[in-house]
Symmetry: C2
Subunit: 142 residues, 2 copies
DNA sequence: CTACGGGTTCGAGCGCACTCTAAGTCAAGG
DNA sequence: CCTTGACTTAGAGTGCGCTCGAACCCGTAG
């Protein structure tokens, strides 16, 4: 598989794939006789996993540490597990934080929704928004 | 409250506070007669809310849109609600993605934990890690 | 009076993660 | 043979969100 094909399949750009190889996130790819990268489908699994790490906010620096351990092969499993374990802890904390923020967001949005409802009912500030009082209660529901 | 005090209370640096004012994320602060910023405690509420937006990944560009609507005052509630509502949707999606990634991470970690356990039991690669076979099953539990 | 510990402005610099450009190589199709 | 288009490299540029430095100002304590 050439780099263009891999780009399509992985969702990364060819530029990014070369960049990842340059910094050591992807292993140095075999080249054909005209020095073009030729990939094995198995690289996709690795790219996909890198994507998960990235999606969960792992900085490239740390992915590099993981990639290096992986390259090094057996004997590094405990360190790899440790690294992922620590990352998981951070991700869990992050999810918890997001959920807390969502509650705040919910409250804020509910506040605005209330304000809107009141406006529609009593017509305090936006005359052009007036509706028949009877139907106003349901207005703008989403 | 002077900028240093606000920095301490808000967790932002004085540099960042000035930067936020410069770009319009914080309202232009009143100055004392020697042109130093003098803050009202109420700014903390706003900074805290900005922190939530930031924590949930809202780019500054969009916080600026929200801040501008807020400055503009009443009549912008519907737009503010809309903005926050869209953001909430994105955050929820992001949380879902993180949770999916966590499952992958869990599986990967479990895989490594298994490998370690097997190593400890059969002593294949790391002799210095050997333990009495009888107790090895429970080793390294977390 | 002077030193110090804040503060001020403006603009430059940084770290991250790409993203793109320029100039060149190569293989296949018309 | 010539064009096309996908590839190669090294290195420069981008966008984001700060972060810092330089030079200066000001009020108070010793």
């Amino acid at each position: 598989m050439k780099i263009g094909e891999l780009a399509k399949r992985s969702g990364l750009s060819a530029h990014t794939i070369r960049y990842y190889e340059r910094i050591g996130l992807l292993p140095y790819a075999d080249r054909d006789r005209s020095s073009r990268r030729d990939y094995d489908a198995s690289i996709l699994t690795w790219i996909e996993f890198l994507g998960r790490l990235k999606a969960t906010g792992m900085p490239i620096r740390e992915m590099l540490r993981y990639a290096a351990l992986r390259e090094k092969g057996s004997g590094t499993e405990a360190q790899r597990r440790e690294l992922l374990d620590q990352h998981r802890t951070r991700v869990r904390a992050h999810v918890a934080e997001l959920q807390a923020c969502l509650l705040v967001l919910d409250a804020k949005i509910a506040g605005y929704a209330d304000a809107e409802k009141r406006m529609t009912q009593y017509d305090t500030t936006l005359p052009e928004r007036r509706r028949k009082p009877a139907g106003a209660r349901q207005a703008r529901a989403r």
